[in-house]
Structures are given as structure tokens and as C-alpha cells.
């Protein structure tokens, strides 16, 4: 039987997002240059919620996009072909500060693929990374700029971030 622990509940998730939004606001000199890009599936609702908090801080709407990275992965012939999610980039990223948003940062390979995919849409001024959970075990020189919570894990453990009706992040030991 896998053993599950709740590591973030709904209140803690909202608090983490509010803090990340304030950190993004603090780090951004020109608020109108910031766009949020969620990585499906987990990053998309997070980007939407971050945009909501940020737009309250900045008093203007913050553009959001979603970027599917599956065609840019480095392991496409090593496991079953991934499901492709919609990519929606309703703005030109050139000259923008793009904050990539994902739920869990693990090996860093998704983020590498995301940076590669993002290049096809233009040349951002800066790319930053915001994640709800950093669980360690990086395989690439990638580091998040904004982290909700650092969670030390064993590689075989799984983290499930459920966002929506039941906001919670669960750590599963097998």
C-alpha cells in the first residue's frame, strides 16, 4: 500500500502563490513586460491563479499562455509518446519577461524542453521559472527563480499536485 502525506493544503497553496506573485512583482521592473506561461497540465491552472494575484498587485491584466513541451522532449523514443496538450500563446514573447510556471520541478528536463519550445515563438528578454514544489534530483543545470515549497524526496517517491476543486499536494511513498 502506498503511503500518502499531504504536504500542502488549500490554504498553504494559496499562501505560496501569493508569496510567489509578490516576489515576481518585486523582481519585475516593468510590469507590462511580464507574461506567464503555464506548462500543461499542472502549470496551466497555477499560471492562471498567479496572474490573478499579480493583476491585483499591478492593477492591470497579466497575459497568460500555455506551452506544450512534448514535441521538444529528449526522451521521445524512450517511452510511449506523450499526450499533446494545446499550446496557446496569445502574445509575442519577443522582448518580454516570460515566467514559466509548472507544478513540480524534478529532473529539469521539462523546463529544458520548455525553453526550447519557447524559442519557436520569439526571443524573450528573460525567461524565469516559478514552481509550486521543488523536489530536488535535478539532471540539468536548471534552477527555479520562484519556489512555493522545497520538498526533499527520494527519487522513487511521487508528488501529485491536484489543483481545482480539491487543492492539495500529496507526497506518495511506494
Amino acid at each position: 500500500m502506498p503511503e500518502s502525506t499531504v504536504i500542502l493544503d488549500a490554504t498553504a497553496i494559496q499562501r505560496a502563490l501569493t508569496r510567489i506573485a509578490h516576489e515576481i512583482a518585486e523582481r519585475s521592473e516593468i510590469s507590462t513586460e511580464v507574461v506567464l506561461v503555464g506548462i500543461p497540465t499542472g502549470g496551466v491552472p497555477l499560471a492562471e491563479r498567479l496572474a490573478k494575484v499579480l493583476s491585483e498587485i499591478w492593477k492591470h491584466p497579466v497575459p497568460i499562455g500555455s506551452l506544450d513541451v512534448s514535441m521538444h522532449r529528449d526522451d521521445l523514443d524512450r517511452r510511449a509518446a506523450p499526450k499533446i496538450h494545446p499550446t496557446v500563446m496569445p502574445f509575442d514573447v519577443t522582448g518580454k519577461t516570460v515566467v514559466l510556471v509548472d507544478d513540480v520541478l524534478f529532473s529539469g528536463r521539462t523546463i529544458r524542453a520548455a525553453m526550447d519550445a519557447l524559442n519557436d515563438f520569439g526571443r524573450p528578454k528573460k525567461i524565469q521559472l516559478a514552481v509550486l514544489i521543488d523536489r530536488g534530483h535535478r539532471e540539468l543545470p536548471i534552477k527555479a527563480d520562484f519556489v512555493g515549497k522545497n520538498v526533499p524526496t527520494a527519487p522513487e517517491e511521487e508528488i501529485r499536485a491536484q489543483l481545482g476543486k480539491m487543492d492539495e499536494v500529496i507526497l506518495e511513498r511506494k
Partner: protein, 315 residues
Amino acid sequence: MSWTKKHLLDIESLAAEEIVTVLDTARGFKAVGQRAIKKVPALRGKTVVNLFVEPSTRTRISFELAEQRLSADVINFSAEASSFKKGETLKDTALNLQALNADFIVIRHSASGAPHFLSRVLGAHVINAGDGAHEHPTQALLDAFTIRERKGTIEGLNVTILGDILYSRVARSNIWALTKLGARLTLCGPSTLVPKVFEQMGCRVTHDVNDAISAADIIHLLRIQHERQRKAMFPSIGEYAQLFGLNKARLAQTKPGALIMHPGPINRGVEIDSQIADGERSVILEQVTNGLAVRMAVLFLLNGGKGPLEGMTND
């Protein structure tokens, strides 16, 4: 559903869920075709050989562009320029391509079963781009994609395939794909080209064109395949046009939202009137655009390894 097939040889052996996986994946690739940069690195470093032993223009071009947009290296091998003229067998040609470490072979052949044969003797992924009168799976997938995109669903739709069914691999693949996805099929054409035996595939067979098209949501027209007919199967092209061609009067009897499809190349004035081919009901050119997306999706899915999908969200 995750894709586990190594080859795409026919639609007959695919499950409905597998067909849906291709269509869902193709949706993502269609969006790539609408970007400023239409190329993705998914097949970088892979070699694809287009082995077209039977002449083809549109399918070959569509595959070639699909492969290039996935960043694969592409070799084109056509019957006219190849060693087939010098008497080499298909097996030997294929083994030579394998010796060059080809990862994918896309084959078009006049003999039914040629792709299946290659899949048994080669280690590469084999994609059937049309084998004799047997199957043309990517055509059926792009047709299903087009129908689903326009109509939202395929289940419960009335689809009529009109024309040369007997010699048509497009018809066979479409019959398999669309019946698996829950459509009701009607086949129509001259009795010599639409034998009753097709009822065994779960289709309704009629030789009355008005009966065939009046309730149809989709009218799929097929070209008369002169090249595959051993002798004249009907008196004349003129008579065919008169009895089975889709003209203005016949179109007026169809349902208002009925779509006109054709795998191309079209023969204007034979199976379809010129104005209808260019008209608002026609999705013939959308089929071409969607074909590119569907072929990219097929290559992408076949390229996937056997491993599990777990952990994909956790990195």
C-alpha cells in the same frame, strides 16, 4: 490511451481508442502548422525513407513535409529512378535501406500486403502509404480527423462513400476507421464497382445515388481508378458522370450541412462538378492540410518507445 504499435500497416487492426489517440495527437500538430516556425525537433536524428514503388504526388509530398517538419532526415526513393527497374526485389531494396540505418520506411506499393511483408523482414518502423486495393490508413485517419473537426464527433453520423469502392484502398480504410468510430456507412456506385459483398463489412450498399446521399452528413467521393481496372467496369465516363456524378441538382437533395470530401486527385466534371469542388460544402483542401498534421502525429506516435508514461508530470 498510450500508443504501443510499432508500425502503421492498416486500420483494420487498430482499436477505436488508438484511432482516437492519433486524431487527438494530430490536433496538436495542426496547431504547429499555424505557427510562424512550423518545425519541431521531435524526430531529430531519425532517418525516414519514402519508398514509393507506385507513383504518388500528394501523399508523398505530404509525408515528406511531415517528416521535415519533425526534423527527420528524409530520403525519397521512387520507382522510376530506382533499382526495381534493374530487377531488385522489394526485400533486397528494403534490406539495403535498413543497412543505411533507416528508422522509418514509408511505403507505397501496388501489391496489397507489401508493407506487412516489410514489417516482418525489417527492424524499422513501417508506415503504409497505400498498398494496392487494400488499405491507405493515413488517408482514412485524415478523413476521420476532418469529419471530427467539422462535426464535433463521428459517432452516429451517416457517411456515404460514392464511387469506385471495389478498387479503392481509401474506401476500405475509411470503412474500417469510420465504423470503428460509430458512423453508419453507405456505399454507392455502379454495381460492378460496389458489390454487395461489402455488406459483410457492416455497410449499407445501394446503387441509387439519390438514396445514398439524401440522409448523408458526409459525402465522400472517390475517383474512378482506371489504372487498377483490368477491363471497363462501366460503359463510359460520361455515363458515370450522369448517373453518379455529384452535380447541383443532386447537391440540392442533400442535408444542408452535408460535407463533400474527396481524397484527390479530383476529376472535375466526372465524379464532382467544378462549382461543388470549389464550393462552401467542400472540405477537399482542408483534407490536404489535415493530412500533414495526421502524418506528423503518426510518425510522432510510432517513434515513441515501449516504456511507461509515469512521472511525465513530475519533472
